[in-house]
Amino acid sequence: MKNNAENPSAKLLRPGVKTALKWLFFTVSAVFMYTSSTSGGGKPQAMLLFPMVCASAVFETEIPSAVFGAAAGLLLDVSLGKLPGFTALWLCLCCAGISALFGRLLRKNIINFLWVFLLVGGIYLYIDYYFYYKIWAYEGYRLVLKARLIPSALKTLGWALPVYAAVYVAERLSGTQRKLDLEEQDKNIDRV
């Protein structure tokens, strides 16, 4: 009773329900991001699913991150008209990697998220450009980079911070415990 009186919201929802609600939020957001990317006109679109899965991988463990990355990747493949599995494979591996990296080596903060996201996004941008345009060397293929891929990547980068913030808030509200970083967990390190 005392605990409840001190923190009435603590037992408002069970942890399992909170986790389910969090994943429901992620799923609904992913569907919304997918449909919004296919509803626009002829202008370059931001690929919001990309920062979404990377941000969730920062806070989640490896397997959920990899599965969510694969599912979002398949949606991106359909919306971008790519070979199914092309983006999914990349996001599956990257999300698992991001999750492992943030669980073991990196602090969970926005700066680390941004540079990891830039790295993952930058490599994907080049792979996409190389396999879908450069390798075929169609006339004027470089224009695609200038007119579509880079503007789209910049828009996506612009949305990365709000998406990270949304994912961060969802993680906090779901009551997920923030894991201490590696050196903080290590009992062998003496602290003054």
Binding site: S36, L75, S79, P84, A88, L143, R148
Partner: protein, 283 residues
């Protein structure tokens, strides 16, 4: 990190990755795949709904933002109407000429045997595609097949390049993957239209292999020749713009503005069958 690579987690992730590689290989070697069909079946209604909302919001914003432009356009159109009234006396003569041209190119007979699908709604667009590829809400269950031509009353919009059970993807004629035999209605000169990234940004295609002594001029209309067996004869493709001598010096090249802007499409029809379908030398 070492423990991670030897853990069960890593094994599961490797299995997921292997599954995705399997999907990629399956999708690459087969014309249709279960993944796209499943995703399409689930998301088609949602896409349709979100697209209609997006269109409404765009139209409303467009009205608010471009009110001045519309006012100017209205004034210009009023002047144009006045000018058209002045030309009305020539209509009878133009009608006769039009009938004559129709007889000449036998458009009427070429329309025989065309089977159109039910109206197809544009439910979404391929994100970031420079050509403006789009999805329609009819698929293999509605009798749509690969390379079926997609048209509107204004002319040809493109070809079906991906067919799933409940939806299809259409690649517009702006694409560099599309080549189409055409000829000029007025002069009868033939050529082939093809797209490129550069021209697609300006919403144009080029017509190649035009004879050096061609008489085509700006504003002439080009229509499909029907030789390929992929598309019926006599469907409007677009209007001729500038023409110039090709780099090899053996023929001329013309810039064609397609009669259809893929980004403005909301409803299209698919020609599911026509006389001479598949009878051409191209497949």
């Amino acid at each position: 990190m070492k423990e991670f690579f030897s853990s069960k987690k890593f094994l599961i992730i490797a299995c997921v990755a292997a599954f995705l590689i399997g999907i990629m290989i399956y999708a690459a070697v087969s014309s249709s795949n279960a993944v796209n069909s499943a995703i399409g079946a689930v998301f088609s209604p949602i896409q349709k709904f979100s697209n209609s909302i997006s269109n409404k919001v765009s139209e409303t914003l467009d009205m608010l933002i471009n009110a001045k432009d519309y006012y100017d356009e209205n004034q210009r159109l009023k002047e144009q109407i006045a000018s058209l009234y002045a030309q009305i006396s020539d209509y009878t003569q133009l009608e006769q000429e039009n009938d004559h041209l129709r007889e000449m190119i036998d458009l009427a007979s070429s329309s025989d045997g065309i089977v159109l699908s039910e109206p197809c709604t544009v439910i979404g667009r391929t994100a970031n595609d420079i050509y403006g590829s789009f999805f329609i809400d009819k698929g293999s269950k509605d009798g749509i097949e690969y390379y079926d031509p997609v048209v509107t009353a204004s002319g040809i919009a493109g070809f079906v390049t991906e067919v799933e059970y409940s939806y299809s993807m259409v690649t517009p004629i702006l694409s560099n993957e599309v080549s189409l035999g055409v000829y000029c209605v007025r002069t009868g000169e033939t050529g082939v239209i093809e797209g490129s990234y550069e021209l697609a940004l300006d919403g144009m295609v080029r017509m190649v292999y035009i004879p050096l002594d061609c008489e085509m001029t700006e504003g002439d209309i080009v229509i499909t020749s029907g030789h390929s067996g992929l598309v019926p004869k006599g469907i409007v493709v677009g209007t001729v713009g500038e023409t110039f001598i090709a780099s090899n010096g053996l023929s001329r090249t013309g810039l064609i503005t397609p009669s259809i802007d893929p980004y403005q499409l909301k409803t299209v029809f698919v020609i599911t069958d026509f006389d001479g379908k598949g009878s051409g030398y191209e497949e």
